[in-house]
Amino acid sequence: MSLLQIDQLSVRFGATMALDSLSLAIAAGETLALVGESGSGKSTAALAIAGLLSHQATVTGTIRFDGQALTDWRGVRQGGIAMVFQDAMSALNPVHRIGAQVVEALRLPRAEQRVAAARFLDQVGLPQPERLVDAYPHELSGGMRQRVGIAIAVAQNPRLLIADEPTTALDVTIQAQILALLRDLKARLGLSLLLVTHDLGVVAETADRVAVLYAGCLMELAPAAALFTSPHHPYTQGLLEARPPFGTQAPMLAELVEIPGQLPRLDPPPAGCRFAARCDRADQRCRAEQPVLRPIADTLVACHHA
């Protein structure tokens, strides 16, 4: 049975359709990457799962965690689900010491707090954890702050860790450290990981399965290896081809392959396939009828032409 099961989840903010009928599941111990650009709905989906949607959001559909339906879209998820944010500086309270923030949600007796905080800081690979519990966020580097953000999440003993662009604000050298830490924690604690990202390199390094979102719709859901070797959706193909090649054997191109046009507005979203305006295969049907997900091998694809 899946640890997390999302069925027909839609989220609106007024006239804006941020997420349109998302259905997917995450198995225990699995890393699922939610890939998309701005406005794809990837963060909206993550916030709905974490119970952090704003009051403006109108939600339909269901999310089941460990068999239990989550009904509150704006309440702290007790037990089981924790989240790591993109910007660790604004996720941390600047006037509270690191240690207090790590164990804040645990309601421990005062005497046990320091030791517990130091233990969680140690778990995420921070040096001298006994000293760090007394530090303030501004005394730490960006990479260290993100480790503290992960320690706060780990302290809640989660079974599902949601990481929303956890390395986007970091340098590549530090990104490599944080990705290694997430992989290590997942293996050590048996976590499921929902990784929200726009970066296909991060996906290649970490994901077991990949869900590609575009303008609020799930376009393709595939095992990571299959997605990179044989993408079916024209949008996925475009994303992979538009990357500058890298590696000692990679070719030098005169020009990069472009995806023409720009992201559509979602207030309201265009009729038919959301990607039709930018797709070279689009025809009359694509502009009128929204494609539904259908299986091709071990992949699900929402495209009339795939």
Binding site: D171, Q175, A176, Q177, A225, F246, V257
Partner: protein, 329 residues
């Protein structure tokens, strides 16, 4: 030998901070030829953006010389500098912050032309809009009505308006969505090719750098630690820090990720207030020896156009045997 378009010699700059002076740029020598595309890479805080600001005279150097088109622009008054300003232009990382929200696209691109009293401004703006792939009708729009990619096109049109010789682009595509990034990279490449423009590209995405740059300068804690042409850098980066940066680039496919030897640089960039003695990279270098902790490393010439600052390299030896970027056994 003819004077290059841009020549930096011993450029230094520090900024005051409560903890003491932050040594942002610690003695940079660099040249850029006309039509050349040079990339400056390194972690945040390494001084690459500070260096760009010094070249544009948005800040004044503490020491050193900056020669542009054969003239040392360091001592020049603002008035004397004015004829040079159009020749040096910049594209910023955040296209939202770079545009005035109350000026239309047309006005934003026209402003530099007006300031420098150029004739036929409307025609020039129309030509620039076409060059960056924007419809003429967009001229009447305001920045908030544009997408991120369109805003960055406006930023580029504005930078090209005065027909510069050198374009400095500081992370110009980092804030853009993946699907429009390639468009802007192609546009930047085309502008350089078609106009014979020199480009100083500041970026942390090495795949983009590999695509755009003829030469690569790796910066660490205010110093250039390696300088190499594209043909040598991507296969034979010599400095351990350059190798670490290359190793940190995420794999392009899961298969590649599984095949690659995991190598993660430990620790953070050291403080620029108190840079480590000796080699500034020794605190993180997997190959560091005792001398690296005390003696500043020499510049080692690996080929005529390729050098690195490292004790462990041998002149003329080409690519060193430091291993493939992994830690020493």
């Amino acid at each position: 030998m003819p004077e290059p378009l841009l020549r930096l010699q011993g450029v230094k700059k520090s900024y005051p901070s409560p903890a003491g002076p932050v040594q942002a740029v610690r003695g940079v020598d660099l040249t850029l030829e006309a039509g050349e595309r040079l990339a400056l890479v390194g972690e945040s805080g390494c001084g690459k953006s500070s260096l760009a600001r010094l070249i544009l005279r948005l800040a004044d150097v503490d020491a050193g010389e900056i020669w542009f088109e054969g003239v040392n622009i360091i001592q020049m008054s603002d008035r004397a500098l004015r004829p040079f300003r159009p020749r040096l232009q910049m594209v910023f990382q955040d296209p939202v912050a770079a545009l005035n929200p109350r000026r239309t696209v047309f006005q934003a691109i026209e402003d530099p032309l007006r300031v420098h009293q150029r004739p036929d401004r409307a025609a020039t703006v129309a030509r620039l809009l076409a060059e960056v792939g924007l419809e003429a009708g967009l001229g009447q729009r305001y920045p908030h009505e544009l997408s991120g990619g369109q805003k960055q096109r406006v930023g580029l049109a504005r930078a090209l308006a005065l027909d510069p010789a050198l374009l400095i682009a500081d992370e110009p595509v980092s804030a853009l969505d993946v699907s429009v990034r390639a468009q802007v990279i192609n546009l930047l490449g085309a502008a350089c090719r078609n106009r014979g423009l020199s480009l100083l590209f500041i970026g942390h995405d090495l795949a983009v750098v590999r695509h755009l740059a003829d030469r690569i300068a790796v910066m660490h804690l205010g110093e250039i630690v390696e300088l190499a042409p594209r043909a040598r850098f991507w296969t034979g980066a010599a400095h351990p820090y350059a190798q670490a940066l290359l190793a940190a680039v995420p794999a392009t496919t899961p298969a590649e990720a599984a095949a690659k030897t995991p190598f993660v640089l430990q620790g953070d960039l050291p403080s620029a207030v108190a840079p480590p003695a000796g080699c500034s990279f020794h605190t993180r270098c997997p190959h560091a020896e005792p001398r690296c902790r005390t003696i500043p490393p020499p510049i080692v010439q690996l080929a005529a156009d390729h050098w690195a600052r490292c004790h462990l390299l041998t002149p003329g030896a080409g690519t060193p045997s430091l291993g493939s970027g992994g830690p020493a056994p």
